[in-house]
Amino acid sequence: MKERHDELLDYLAGRMTIDQSKAIESELKSDPQLQQQLAELKDLRRHLELHRKTEKKEEVLRQQLDRFGDKYFAAEQSGAEQSAVQETKVKRMHSSTSGTWKRILMAACLMLFAICATSWWAKNSYTNQNLAHSYWQDLDSSQRSYQGTYHFPQANPNQKDYLEQLVVHTEKAFREKDFEAANQHISAILKRKDDPKYDKKTVNIERLQWNQIVCLLALGKTEQARQAARDLLKTNTSLKYKDLSKNLLKDTDSRFFQWAN
C-alpha cells in the first residue's frame, strides 16, 4: 500500500487548493485504503492534540491521585490486608523459630555423628593390638617377610650359637605374630646377652629390645611396654629405636588410647 501521508496531512491541514481537495475527496470515495490512511492520520492528530493538552496537567493530577490512593487504600488495608500481613508475620516468626530448632537439631546430629565416628576410629586404631600391629608393620620388611627354608629344631643352650638359634626362632614367631613365643625367646636372649660363651654376631640387641616392646603391647602389657620403652630411651640405642620408643610413649599416653583400652 502506497503511503500518502503528506498529501493527506496537507488535506487535513487545509493546505491544498480547492481543486486539489476535490481531487483527493473523489479518490477517497473509491479507495478504502486511502480512507484508512486518512482515519489513521486523524486519530494520530487527535491523540497528539490530547497528549499536548493533558501531558502537564496529568502529571500534577497523578501526584494528587497518588496521595489520595495512599490515604484511602492504605486505610482499607487496615482491615483484611493488615490481618493478612499480621498472619504472614506470625507465620514467618513460626517458621523462623522452627528453622532455628531445625538448625540446632541438625548441629546436634552432626556432633553425635562426629563423636561416633571418632570413637569408632579411636577404638579401631588405638587398641593395644592395633597399635602393636601398626608398629609391627613399620618394622623392617625383612623381618616380616622372611620366607627361608630353615628347620627350627629346639634351640640348645649348650651350643655356642644358642642365642643365634633363638633369634631365628624369635623372628619366625614374630613374623607369625606369635607375640607370646617371641616375647619368651627375646627374654631368653636378653638374659644371656652378656654371657661370653655364646656367639652374638647376628644378634641385634636393640632391635630385639624394640621387638619385645611391640610384643608386650600386643599382649596387653601396656605398662611393661612403656617401662621397656623408657629403658630403651636411656640406652645408647640408635635414633630409629629412640624415635619409635618416643612415639609409643606418646601414643599410649593419648586420651584415645586410654579411652579405647
Partner: protein, 198 residues
C-alpha cells in the same frame, strides 16, 4: 444534552479540584476494593485500577465528555472493565490462573455499556500511542509535534515552512523527516499486540 448532577466530578478532574477528588475516593474506594479483592486481586491492584479509571475520565473530560448517568454507575463500570482487561491480560501472559467466568459473571458493579467499552478502547489506544510516541527519536517527536498540530491560538494548521523556521531546519529536510517519522510512529503502533485499530 442534559448533564447529570454528578457532572461536577468530571469537572473536578478537569479542574483538579482536590476536595471533590477526595470525595470520589471517600465514596467509592471501598466498593472498588471489594470488587477487585473478591475477584483475585489485591488492595494494591484496586488502588491502581481506581487511579487508572480516574485518569481515563480526566482524558474524557478534556475532550468534552458529558455524564448522562450517575457517576457511581459509570465509574464503577469503568473500574470493572479495567480490572477485567487486566485479568485477561494476565491470563494471556499465563501469570495467574483466575476464573474468568467468576469475574464476568459478577454483576455487583452493573453491566458495562457499549459506549463505555468504546471509550475505554480509545483510551487504551491513546495510551499505546503515547508510549510509542515517547519511544521515537527526539527530532521525530519535535517534527511530528509541531507539524501535525494546529496553532494553539488560531486553531489553524501551521504551514510547513513556518514549522521549518521554528525548528531552525531546511524546509526539504522537515518535509522528508515528517513523512518518515509519521510512518515510523504508525508502524510502531500497528505492530504492537495491543493495537486494535486507530
Amino acid at each position: 444534552m442534559k448533564s447529570h448532577s454528578d457532572q461536577k466530578y468530571i469537572e473536578a478532574l478537569k479542574q483538579q479540584d482536590a476536595k471533590l477528588i477526595e470525595e470520589i475516593y471517600a465514596k467509592y474506594s471501598g466498593l472498588i476494593r471489594n470488587h477487585v479483592v473478591n475477584n483475585s486481586g489485591t488492595v494494591s491492584d484496586a488502588k491502581d485500577v481506581f487511579q487508572e479509571a480516574l485518569v481515563a475520565l480526566y482524558h474524557k473530560a478534556e475532550q468534552g465528555f458529558v455524564l448522562e448517568s450517575s457517576f457511581k454507575a459509570y465509574f464503577t463500570a469503568m473500574c470493572r472493565y479495567i480490572w477485567l482487561d487486566r485479568i485477561r491480560d494476565k491470563k494471556r501472559k499465563k501469570e495467574k490462573e483466575v476464573s474468568f467466568r467468576e469475574v464476568t459473571n459478577s454483576t455487583d458493579l452493573g453491566e458495562v455499556s457499549e459506549e463505555l467499552i468504546s471509550s475505554m478502547l480509545k483510551e487504551q489506544q491513546f495510551q499505546l500511542f503515547r508510549e510509542k510516541f515517547a519511544e521515537l527519536p527526539p527530532h521525530c517527536r519535535e517534527i511530528i509535534g509541531v507539524s501535525l498540530l494546529t496553532d494553539q491560538h488560531t486553531g489553524k494548521a501551521i504551514p510547513l515552512k513556518e514549522v521549518a523556521e521554528q525548528l531552525g531546519r531546511e524546509y526539504g529536510y522537515v518535509r522528508k523527516e515528517k513523512s518518515l517519522c509519521i510512518k515510523k510512529l504508525i508502524a510502531a503502533v500497528r505492530e504492537d499486540s495491543r493495537y486494535k485499530g486507530f
